[in-house]
């Protein structure tokens, strides 16, 4: 008996290593945990996509729960995501603020005219400096921000209805219940 036990030790070790490797296969290397969860959105003051003369800052956005969506016209996944954002905006379940990242103003405006505009506010971050403060490393990225400007969730990749209904909506309802 003891003998069988001894020979099974390498097998058990192999099993543990295999389990870890198998889990690693299923993980997405693009999903990097954000250190900004639980922190305020960075201070900024940037023009809007609509006009270079309209300045928006982080204080303007306080007082409401919203999704902060990083997008760009050069980003193919953003195009795929856009219809979902339009549907979400129409449903009235949540407000969406856009952060247009390293883009050109006329292209961004044409995109919104052609595909619809789900954004109540659209920030124009041409240099990408505010995006760096947000830890953005790709587009699209979406943050859930509460009325005090605190980030509660970050998602890298296109938002889907499934993600919204299963993950974002429960969090939004929680935040609303807490009265922020």
């Amino acid at each position: 008996m003891n003998r069988y036990l001894r020979y099974s030790v390498p097998l058990i070790i192999f099993g543990i290593i295999a389990a870890f490797l198998l889990k690693g296969l299923g993980m997405n290397p693009r999903e990097i945990p954000s250190p900004l969860i639980g922190k305020s959105i960075p201070e900024f003051s940037l023009p809007s996509v609509e006009s270079a003369d309209t300045l928006i800052n982080d204080e303007n956005l306080k007082g409401k729960i919203y999704l902060l969506n990083v997008w760009a016209t050069w980003c193919v996944s953003c195009r795929a995501e856009h219809q979902t954002l339009v549907r979400l905006a129409r449903s009235g379940k949540v407000e969406i603020v856009g952060l247009n990242w390293k883009d050109e103003r006329n292209k961004a405006q044409a995109w919104l005219q052609q595909l619809g505009n789900p954004y109540t506010v659209n920030i124009f971050d041409q240099k990408g400096r505010t995006a760096i403060d947000l830890g953005v490393y790709g587009a699209p990225e979406t943050f859930l921000v509460d009325g005090d400007g605190i980030i509660h969730y970050k998602y890298a990749g296109p938002v889907t209805m499934e993600l919204f209904n299963n993950t974002l909506l429960p969090m939004i309802n929680d935040l609303k219940a807490k009265g922020s």
Binding site: I32, S34, P35, L36, G128, R129, I132
Partner: protein, 159 residues
């Protein structure tokens, strides 16, 4: 032969191009320049995750290099730059993760496995030694002496 030579020259051109992209970052103080190079070598480019910030040509890597350059130009040190990057992108940007509870397995795991291996090896060797014949008892020692001291004639009786 000629083609090979041509290809080689092209390759050499590529490396100098790579160096040229970093040559734009100049510091008056050579120590600062060293620091800058060290930092961007140690940081991971978030777009192409297996490249460092120094080696990557992704647009975000260029932006981050510029940002770090500006920070260091304005007199901020290595620790401040690292804090800045970690606050935004997490420990993931660092190629060597800091030692803290969540990274203990990475840092100390190999050592623990090594120690376990050592203990197992030690026990195996010890057991092998035990199973070997031990020293002779007094009785056996006596018998050995007798055998060795037997006169030669007696041993040669068969002849």
């Amino acid at each position: 032969m000629r083609q090979t030579l041509f290809a080689l020259i092209c390759l050499m051109g590529l490396t100098s191009l790579q160096a040229a992209t970093l040559a734009e970052y100049t510091f008056e103080d050579p120590a600062k320049h060293e620091d800058f190079r060290a930092i961007i070598e140690e940081m991971r480019c978030l777009v192409c995750q297996n490249e460092s910030l120094a080696g990557s040509n992704a647009e975000l890597a260029v932006d981050l290099r510029n940002e770090i350059y500006e920070m260091m130009k304005s007199g901020q040190g290595k620790a401040e730059v690292i804090d800045f990057m970690v606050a935004r992108y997490g420990d993931f940007v660092l190629y060597s993760p800091p030692i803290k509870p969540s990274t203990y397995p990475i840092w100390f795991g190999p050592l623990i496995v090594f120690l376990i291996g050592g203990v197992v090896l030690f026990r195996i060797i010890k057991r092998k030694n035990q199973s070997r014949e031990t020293e002779l008892s007094d009785e056996e020692q006596q018998r050995l002496k007798e055998l060795l001291n037997q006169p030669n004639e007696q041993r040669d009786t068969n002849q």
